[in-house]
Amino acid sequence: MADIRVMREDLRPPATPPRRHFISIKDITRDDIERLLATARTFERSLEREVKKLPTLKGRLVINVFYESSTRTSSSFELAAKRLSADTMSIKSSGSSVDKGESLKDTAITLGAYDPDVIVIRHPQIGAPQLVARVTEAHVVNAGDGKHQHPTQALLDLYTMREALGRLEGLHVAIVGDVLHSRVARSLIQALALVGAHVTLVGPPALLPREIEEMGCEATTEIGTIAGADVVYILRMQRERMQEGANYVPSLREYTTRWGVTPERLRPGQKVMHPGPMNRGVEIDPRVADHADALIETQVRAGLVTRMAVLYDLLTNGPIEVKTESVLEVA
């Protein structure tokens, strides 16, 4: 009689939950945020160990598809998947069939044929993740779609704020700069509203979208208001998204003079954040970027654990404690 080997519970891939996506902050609740942040904290502790790999998503396939350049987001998604023992593939638009004119739909169907568990997509056009979700069977994670949403960035920003300030409820966050072109700002405004924080947008008139206050925040052109915030969140001036001759501001020089965040405009103890990549000397003074109150490097580390939490959550449908013993055994 052949030996029947029963796989140990903790080694078995989690049962397949109903297909969920992480495309927009609009789709999730405060409970989801709390759960994801808690899961991320568990992973942060696991990363303090000497062997950092967890077996949790062994046998799962995560495909990263990036149609826009990215350092932080693409590297952290790839590492997050690897830390959870998933197989990963990364596709960049240049050097792929996209160069040959293949449509997003056809590329997605092609990748879908490999039965990926998760497709992480960044795309310059709003709605690309929804299209991928429609034509594949994978869980879809939005790693940035045009100017629309960047939900994992919002999550890592909340994680960073809570670690640094101990709370989210009642925090006052000033978001400074080019809100118009910023998917980071849109996701963050919604996420902060969900957790009960207060948001003030500050920037030049043409870069504050008309009726943006309807999202539940305040908007002002007065840079002095940032002094009243607990966190000053500085957005990148997205020169690549501004068409020639659009004249959002007369010049970067004038932008910097009027809206650049300098030590003089900050109050001691205020935390400073930036999603990167920074234009030092444009939206952020180098002295601010390098100061101890800047949480920019913390944000990058938070990116890894929150993205681990998102992948884990989508594939297991909820938080479970990471079992330390089994981790050490299989690693």
Partner: protein
């Protein structure tokens, strides 16, 4: 100005329908007899002779519709629509006549191109079709077309639809010279330096979704300019697919001041607002874009008070693969010929927002008058242009229901009320279901 295949005129009796022609002042249960394509008798218990009998009991018989704003995609994109498929779709939508826009490839800007379309219409059109010609050569906004020759060759009017005539000086010349043609000039009002890269209405929804906004002032500014030029030159004009409340207000004021201007609105602008864009469905992307609730309300008010006299579908077929992309990459335009009546009946008449008579008038007499086309009328001696409607039929719109070659409808999957049972166009039964 209208061209169709020469087909046998028919002898038909429509029996026992509620006959409603608001302009003729008829609303009664009647039989209508059509002899050789013309209405020969209205009455009760008419002798059917050996005529084909269509039972109309429980149904509504009205003057058939006229759609002055259709993109037939011919020449150039016959994969999306051609004259045969577009006119078949129109017949299924209850239309007895349509006008095709000239923004094809090549643009209809010469008598030669127009002539080939008229020839094709004679061969394959299911219902009469007219063709508008371009105002400027290649619709490039630089040089006027030979408008007099085009009119003589059969152009139903002039438009650069899809594009504004950007230069005010050229717009003025078009109005001046257009007067010698006796044809209406129809304008797509858009100040492109304000709408550049715009994907949807600028407002709270675009702010949240991150789309580049296409502000309503991009339309209304051009509406004001064109009305000012029309007033100055004392020339008539027609404003295509209005979407903004400021435009409605400007048109109302100009008409009160005696400017001979007509206005058009589409079914989708009357039924939807920019809130719908949250679904990111590319079949909700069109130019001008869906606007706010107050804009929609103003369009409905304009339709009711007669500021807007024309409902045009702006039927804009697109290939499936071109719409099956992220919203931002999708082309502008949605289909409408086969769903116009049902969508408006469901969204406006059934909930009591407008009365049926207004809808019927704005879909038939209004458009015909704006372009000087024969008005469909239920009267003895008139050519038979009739639509038989079932106001109680409720059904789901699916891709399979379309006769158009394209399926980019904003109503896919929606359940609507009001079905076209038969269309008699130019004396011939063009559709029955």
């Amino acid at each position: 100005m209208l061209f169709g295949a020469e087909k046998t005129k028919e002898n038909i009796v429509v029996r026992g329908a509620r006959v409603l022609d608001p302009v003729a002042g008829i609303d009664a249960l009647l039989d209508v007899r059509v002899d050789d394509g013309a209405i020969a008798a209205l009455g009760t218990e008419l002798d059917t002779n050996s005529h084909r009998v269509i039972e109309g009991e429980g149904l509504l018989l009205a003057p058939a519709f006229v759609d002055p704003h259709v993109h037939l995609r011919t020449p150039g994109r016959e994969d999306e629509e051609n004259i045969a498929s577009g006119t078949a779709a129109a017949a299924a939508g209850g239309y007895c006549a349509i006008l095709a826009m000239p923004n094809t490839d090549p643009v209809v800007d010469s008598a030669a191109t127009l002539g080939s379309l008229i020839e094709a219409a004679h061969a394959e059109a299911e219902i009469p079709v007219g063709f508008l010609a371009a105002i400027t050569k290649g619709q490039s906004g630089a040089e006027l077309t030979e408008m007099a020759e085009l009119a003589a060759a059969g152009a139903a009017g002039f438009t650069d639809d899809g594009m504004p005539v950007a230069a005010p000086g050229l717009m003025r010349r078009a109005l001046q010279y257009g007067s010698v043609t006796g044809r209406r000039i129809a304008l797509h009002c858009e100040e492109t330096t304000l709408s550049r890269d715009g994907q949807m209405h600028e407002g709270a929804v675009s702010a949240e979704l991150g789309f580049t906004g296409y502000p309503s002032v991009a339309e209304s500014l051009m509406v004001e300019r064109d009305l000012a030029l029309a007033a100055y030159e004392r020339q008539p004009l027609h404003l295509l697919h209005l979407s903004a409340w400021e435009s409605v207000q400007a048109l109302r004021r100009a008409r009160a001041e005696g400017v001979e201007a007509t206005g058009e609105v589409t079914p989708h602008h009357l039924c939807l607002t920019d809130e719908a864009i949250r679904s990111l469905d590319p079949n909700l992307k069109m130019n001008p874009p869906l606007r706010s609730g107050s804009d929609r309300t103003a369009l409905i008010e304009g339709l009711k008070d007669g500021t807007i006299t024309v409902i045009g579908t702006d039927h804009a077929p697109h290939a499936r693969h071109e719409k099956d992309v992220p919203f931002e990459a999708a082309p502008f335009g949605v289909t409408g010929l086969e769903t116009a009546f049902a969508s408006l009946y469901t969204h406006l008449v059934d909930p009591g927002i407008i009365v049926l008579e207004t809808l019927l008038e704005r879909m038939s007499t209004g458009p015909a008058r704006a372009y000087g086309l024969p008005e469909p009328r239920i009267a003895v001696g008139a050519q038979a242009n009739l639509v038989l409607l079932d106001l109680n039929a409720s059904y789901r719109i699916t891709e399979e229901t379309f006769r158009s070659r394209s399926v980019n409808s904003w109503l896919l999957g929606e359940t609507v009320k009001g079905k076209v049972r038969a269309t008699i166009a130019a004396g011939r039964l063009a559709f029955s279901a």
